[in-house]
């Protein structure tokens, strides 16, 4: 075991949150900051261009963590035996510098104001008695209005393209009139709309909804952000989700944060370093222990630790390091691992009579309606739906393999052979999807702990997810499917196929989105949360835990909110904690 020279701050994980914390701390203080990333070094644009290959990147998932080394186990309920997720299904966690922030699709929506006070909001609006059983949603410990300036910082840093629908309380048609008030118009205008989302926009307007362009963290034009980083506009090549951007138009940690960090003398990045334990004594974090690229075990002492890996690994490292009280759903005690959420969604495929050129596009290019997000119509609430979702039609760029073979329901008997092939060729490039991104409530029975059976490549226990849908999610999906079908019809669909994203049970095998939240949730009381509203550990003041693991529940696409909350944490760390190290009051 080798002991290294002490650093002021060690950051575990080199993705969006780790590098944002590093950038804020190194640019505002002279502290030495070391980022440990377990994946490989940063990839440049030429390497991303050589990665414009659907098979290796979208199907074999070349940018993801090697699941052979480490995975999670899953069970539907506490009485079941968990089995390992042996191949990627419902989520695709990235690895290497930039993490999943390199391969995301760059949808950059804000959460609604009620989300931050959700427990209070639902109780006041509906009364506790009406709400779903075992509901565990909590307030965040701060409000939308308090977070708004940080949303704006994150949007400027990334250069989000979109159209405001609520500017300081004034509603503007063409933007999302259902969103919370924005202090500023978007930094960049929306992307040009392609044919399919334009049909969606017209259909939505005809049905009386308020369509708006999806906010996208891929630039619609060349843009220099307030940090001085210049990036070009999107080329609409369609290689977005599951790929790194080959021109740098998509906001990625490698193109927005790393260019600044590499100029800082107080910044060090070490790749190929897998952190296995956070070391602590007497209620204070003192360093981390990791295995380096050559397999050597190394101890890195530090004055403060920022845990900034993905949700799964944040929770797992705290459990393995025995920091905090593991959650016990039966006794209703403990906080670490509780409030596991993913994301609810419902998809309708529709078939049109004209070619769509689906290979062009950008991950966040599309139109959406917010009429069913947040509080649903009263009729839905009376049938037991208490929060809904955003319905959208993306032109994200479809690859030829994954888009091939879709035909309207009931048209052919088989999914192979001449008859199927002919139908699939006929409908190819005429198929589109209407999807929804819905609130996922937290429940007492959905949580994370260590698996008693399965281990990673070093022999450490895997994280175990106990997660299933409840009737509330099934009802949400039903409500949104109806709207999606009416939109498909209004778009002139010649055929449709409903995709059961929310089946009767949670599926670890079907792709949903890499949006797993909770486990290290924030809140205003140490009895109910692991970190305080500034993401500082309640019982270990020099340990800060950032990322989606801090969400008490998940409204929808989380990245922009994760970054806004990280800015808030960075401010608290630099402006308050460093001046008076200790628990923030």
């Amino acid at each position: 075991m080798a002991d290294l020279e002490h650093v002021d701050v060690v950051i575990v994980g080199g993705g969006w949150t780790g590098l944002l914390m590093a950038k804020e701390i190194t640019s505002r203080t002279s502290l030495s900051v070391l980022v440990l990333e377990r994946g490989g070094p940063v990839r440049n644009k030429a390497e991303y261009a050589a990665g414009m290959d659907e098979l290796d990147y979208e199907i074999r998932l070349r940018m993801m963590q090697n699941i052979a080394d480490e995975t999670v186990t899953h069970r539907l309920a506490g009485r079941d035996r968990a089995v390992p997720v042996r191949q990627y299904g419902s989520f695709h966690p990235g690895t290497g510098v930039g993490g999943s922030g390199e391969h995301w699709s760059a949808v950059a929506t804000r959460f609604l104001p009620e989300e931050f006070i959700l427990a209070t909001h639902l109780r006041e609006k509906y009364g506790s008695a009406k709400l779903p059983e075992n509901l565990a949603v909590q307030d965040w410990g701060f409000t939308y209005d308090e977070l708004e300036p940080n949303y704006w910082r994150a949007e400027q840093m990334m250069g989000v393209s979109g159209k405001a629908g609520n500017l300081r309380g004034t509603l503007i048609e063409g933007g999302n009139i259902h969103e919370g008030p924005r202090s500023h118009e978007f930094p960049n205008p929306p992307h040009p709309m392609t044919y399919m989302p334009s049909l969606f926009r017209n259909a939505a307007a005809d049905l009386g909804y308020h369509p708006f362009p999806i906010p996208s963290a891929t630039l619609s034009q060349a843009y220099r952000n307030p940090d001085g980083v210049l990036r070009p506009g999107c080329q609409y090549c369609g290689y977005c989700s599951h790929y790194g951007c080959m021109v740098g138009a998509k906001a990625q940690p490698s193109t927005t944060l790393l260019p600044l960090l590499t100029k800082r003398k107080n910044f060090t990045l070490r790749t190929g370093c897998s952190v296995r334990r956070l070391i602590h004594s007497n209620g204070k974090a003192v360093g981390v222990s990791y295995i380096d690229g050559s397999g050597k075990e190394i101890t890195q002492p530090a004055d403060a630790i920022v845990l900034a890996s993905w949700t799964i690994n944040n929770v797992r490292l705290l459990l393995l390091s025995k920091i905090g009280d593991p959650y016990d759903p039966v006794a209703g005690q403990g906080t670490l691992g509780k409030n596991l959420t993913h994301q609810v969604g419902q998809t309708v495929q529709l078939f049109l009579d004209k070619p769509l050129n689906n290979f062009m596009g950008s991950g966040g290019l599309g139109m959406a309606v917010g009429n069913f997000a947040g509080d649903p119509p009263d009729s839905a609430a009376s049938s037991g739906v208490f929060r809904g979702g955003t319905i959208q039609a993306n032109a994200g760029g479809q690859g030829p393999i994954s888009s091939f073979g879709r035909v309207p329901q009931g048209e052919v008997r088989s999914n192979w052979g001449s008859e199927w092939k002919k139908a699939a060729l006929n409908w190819h490039d005429k198929e589109a999807e209407i999807i929804s991104r819905d609130m996922h409530f937290a429940y007492r029975q959905n949580y994370m702990d260590l698996d008693p059976t399965y281990t990673d490549r070093y022999g450490d226990p895997l994280l175990r997810l106990t997660l299933d849908w409840t009737d509330h999610e099934r009802r949400q999906a039903e409500m949104l499917a109806k709207v999606e079908l009416s939109l498909a019809k209004a778009m002139g669909a010649k055929g449709v196929r409903s995709i059961e994203v929310i089946g009767s049970h949670y599926s670890a095998a079907a792709y949903q989105g890499t949006h797993i939240q909770g486990g290290v949730i924030m809140g205003d009381s140490p009895d109910q949360s692991v970190v305080n509203p500034w993401l500082q550990h309640w019982h270990m003041p020099n340990l800060w835990i950032v990322g989606g693991s801090c969400f008490p529940q998940n409204e929808a696409t989380p990245t922009l909110t994760i970054l806004a909350v990280t800015y808030r944490a960075a401010d608290a760390f630099v402006d308050r904690y460093l001046k008076r190290p200790g628990a923030l009051a």
Binding site: M52, R60, N66, G417
Partner: protein, 221 residues
């Protein structure tokens, strides 16, 4: 060392002598009959003939256009199975292995190489010599197996993946569906061509970049 095995493919069917116009109309050029021999990395010649025949029933060469045989799908599958994917280098393979519900995906111990060897037994060593109706009958009888699901997915991958992976010979798959390849920019076309097809002669990634690119299957692992 293993004896080198080859599969013999006819150039009139293997690849690009069938071409497509930009309006997606097929033209069959008068080709000279020739044979090429492709060295195999995983299958024996006999096994390759069985799999190639099965792929061509899944995605047949017929009056709606070229099929698995024309795209050289067998070469694609052979290379995938010989590489790290075929040996499950990217799947969690620690035990215990237990049966579970479909929500947990494939939980078996067998890797793709083993699944194919087993599948070839199920299809029968005489599979390539059967008539099409008999072949379809046998395939239907194994439709619900992991092997068949894999074979179907791999067939589609072999037709529509970048030619650097061994299939999609002469971009026949992309010609068939009007896919232009991984082009670097549609900035001038985006938001235009509403309901109109935007078609170009397809290009593979190496052509687009003007330099060689290696598939993941070429990496040792």
């Amino acid at each position: 060392m293993k004896r080198r095995e080859f599969i013999t493919l006819s150039t009139t069917s293997f690849g690009g002598l069938l071409v497509y116009t930009l309006a997606r109309e097929p033209i069959r050029l008068n080709a000279q009959e020739a044979k090429i021999q492709v060295p195999l990395r995983f299958f024996t010649a006999k096994e390759a003939q069985v799999i190639a025949a099965a792929c061509d029933r899944i995605f047949p060469s017929d009056d709606s256009g070229p099929g698995a045989k024309d795209a050289g799908v067998i070469v694609y599958i052979d290379r995938q199975l010989a590489g790290p994917y075929g040996r499950d280098r990217y799947r969690y393979t620690k035990g215990p292995f237990v049966e579970s519900s479909p929500e947990h995906g494939y939980q078996g111990k067998a890797n793709p190489q083993e699944i194919y060897h087993d599948g070839i037994q199920q299809l029968g060593p005489d599979f390539a010599d059967l008539d099409a109706a008999k072949q379809d009958e046998r395939l239907r009888s194994i439709e619900t197996t992991m092997f068949f699901r894999m074979l179907r997915v791999h067939t589609i991958e072999g037709i529509f993946s970048d030619p650097m992976h061994g299939g999609n010979a002469n971009l026949i798959g992309w010609q068939l569906i009007g896919y232009p390849g991984p082009l670097m920019s549609y900035r001038d076309a985006i938001g235009k061509f509403n309901g109109q097809p935007w078609r170009r002669k397809p290009m593979g990634l190496e052509q687009v970049l003007g330099r060689p690119v290696k598939g993941w299957e070429e990496e040792a692992g």
